[in-house]
């Protein structure tokens, strides 16, 4: 799909917990096809201190309204600025960028697992899987009850299993401790979250020979495969997480065995 640079209009910006927000932007044109796992590069408006664009995962897409939702964690002045954008304001995006998750075949059992802003691509992935006639299950991990993000939209698509590190809600421990994950017969596991979480999930999947794709969040400058800054060591050498990724099969990653 052809990439474009476009000023979209903010139609909503909702705070989620202490440090997350979902910003919804609308295009005046028809959206191009956006695949689950793809991302956008957002220009922080009027902010020379944040020089580069911010790569943000597509959280959801509504083609009927030509809107894109982005789930964002406030990690610095750039994302802080974006969290304060008001409806009617413009947000300049380069999109759609990156590869996408491999969708399951009919009848496969799929688990989508993640935590924090790693939940961002999982909603749109889950929706795409559900639309293909498969009920996805979700395993979402958080530090404690107060950090749990609103996941009503996930519940509409399939069962949601929760874990918290302190056991204040759901299963105590990490997503890999959730019985549904440990004992379930999964054909495919998709993961996006903090690197230790993805490595733990990859270890389990690797051991059980389960197909597993992870979505990486590397520092990047361009998002278009020209700066070669966001590289990932893979079995085929250093690849760009922006164009060869952000989604990688764990068998192609070198960190999977070393982590």
């Amino acid at each position: 799909m052809k990439k474009r640079v476009e000023d979209l209009t903010v139609t909503g910006n909702k705070r989620l917990g202490e440090s997350f927000f979902v910003i919804k932007v609308s295009s005046s044109e028809s959206l191009p096809e956006i695949k689950p796992g793809q991302f956008v590069q957002a220009l922080v408006p009027d902010s020379p201190a944040t020089f580069l664009r911010r790569p943000l995962s597509v959280h959801d897409v509504d083609y009927s309204q030509n809107t894109i939702s982005l789930l964002v964690q406030i990690a610095g002045p750039g994302t802080e600025h974006l969290s304060r954008l008001l409806p009617g304001e413009k947000l300049n995006l380069i999109y759609p960028l990156g590869n996408s998750f491999t969708l399951p075949a009919k009848g496969e059992r799929v688990l989508l697992t993640g935590g924090g802003c790693g939940m961002a691509p999982l909603l749109y992935l889950g929706r795409s899987i559900a639309e293909a006639g498969i009920t996805p299950q979700f395993a979402l991990g958080f530090r404690n009850r107060s950090r749990i993000l609103d996941h009503d939209e996930f519940l509409k698509l399939g069962p949601v299993h929760l874990s918290t590190e302190d056991g204040s809600e759901g299963h105590r421990g990490f997503v890999t401790d959730i019985p549904a994950f440990r004992e379930g017969e999964w054909d495919r596991v998709y993961c996006c979250g903090p690197e230790p979480m993805m490595k733990a999930v990859a270890r389990v999947c690797s051991g059980r020979k389960i197909f597993c794709e992870v979505s990486l969040e590397n520092l990047m400058a361009c998002g278009m495969g020209i700066c070669l800054c966001c590289i990932v060591p893979t079995t085929s050498g250093n690849l760009c997480s922006c164009t060869d990724g952000p989604v990688f099969n764990i068998n192609d990653l070198k960190w999977q065995t070393s982590g």
Binding site: P48, A49, R53, M224, C227
Partner: protein, 304 residues
């Protein structure tokens, strides 16, 4: 419509706006946003004889009005280039220039010789200013004797347009421009990135795996502009200016300081259409001010 054509050596460019090496891939990456045919030229990714994996992650750090990079010339080598990229580059109706790198004088010579035989590559940019490699690169560009040796050796085997890319990490950049001219270069381009570094105070670690890296973006523009101005007064060969150009006015500043052409680099990361916007903007400026060609304003501040 003003005459935007410029000349570097014997090579005529349709306009003075060129995409800088390392910030435009091999052109194809930016084709969704603009046609390469609208540009004066493109300088593709720094190339070496052998395949290189570059430096370890992290290679990039955002800084105030700029960024540091430490890519370290990751590229697939000349054999792969010739087989896979070159056939596609032939299709561009613009000058495709290759940025040439090596560890030794012999590397530079061999690579230049290879490129001399590629008909669709009318020029090379000799990179003696990469700050992110342990051998070669800036070591040549910061030592007058080494610079002279490599330029002289390449000139003997390369008979098309030869541009030497200079490092700003020297006391007097004009010395290296003069050496380039004396050894037969057709032009100099400057500046490559400024050597810099950044530390994450919270984790108490350097932000780059290599600790130091090359600073680019608007943060370096005043330094680059000063060096271009000094160089344009010191040599008679054309000067190609770059360093933090984000807009038409930035490009005009370099031209008015004496640059025959400009390169758009880091700006393409933020606005991939910057180069074509600058072409349009220069044309509009010349028309509004009743200049019939871009040559009329080249080095204009030195004439007043």
């Amino acid at each position: 419509m003003a005459d935007l054509r410029i000349k570097i050596g014997s090579l005529e460019f349709r306009n003075p706006v060129i995409l800088a090496s390392g910030t435009c891939g091999y052109g194809a990456e930016l084709e969704d946003f603009m046609s390469m045919d609208q540009l004066g030229g493109i300088i593709v990714k720094g190339t070496t004889l052998e395949h290189r994996e570059g430096n370890a992650y992290p290679r990039m750090a955002e800084t105030a009005s700029g960024m540091l990079n430490a890519v370290g010339l990751q590229n697939k080598g000349i054999d792969y280039f010739e087989k896979n990229f070159y056939p596609k580059l032939i299709g561009f109706d613009t000058h495709v220039i290759v940025n040439v790198n090596g560890n030794t004088v012999e590397d530079y010579v061999e690579l230049s010789r290879r490129l001399n035989s590629l008909d669709a590559i009318p020029a090379i940019e000799l990179n003696i200013s990469c700050p992110n490699v342990k051998r070669g690169g800036m070591i040549f560009g910061t030592n007058p004797g080494s610079a002279r040796e490599v330029i002289s050796a390449v000139r003997k085997v390369y008979d098309k347009t030869l541009i030497v890319k200079l490092s700003p990490n020297v006391t007097d950049v004009t010395e290296f421009a003069r050496i380039s001219q004396e050894e037969g270069a057709d032009a100099v381009s400057l500046v490559n990135t400024l050597l810099g570094m950044a530390i994450d105070a919270r984790t108490m670690k350097p932000r780059l795996s290599t600790v130091t890296g090359g600073l680019s973006g608007p943060a370096i523009k005043p330094v680059a502009l000063r060096m271009v101005w000094q160089t344009a007064r010191a040599v008679t060969i054309p000067v190609i200016g770059l360093g933090g150009i984000m807009s038409t006015d930035d490009a005009l500043e370099f031209i008015m300081a004496g640059a025959t052409a400009v390169q758009i680099g880091t700006a393409s990361f933020i606005e991939p259409r910057t180069a074509t916007m600058v072409v349009q903007g220069i044309n509009t400026f010349l028309d509004e001010k009743d200049f019939d060609s871009v040559g009329r304003i080249t080095g204009i501040i030195n004439r007043n």
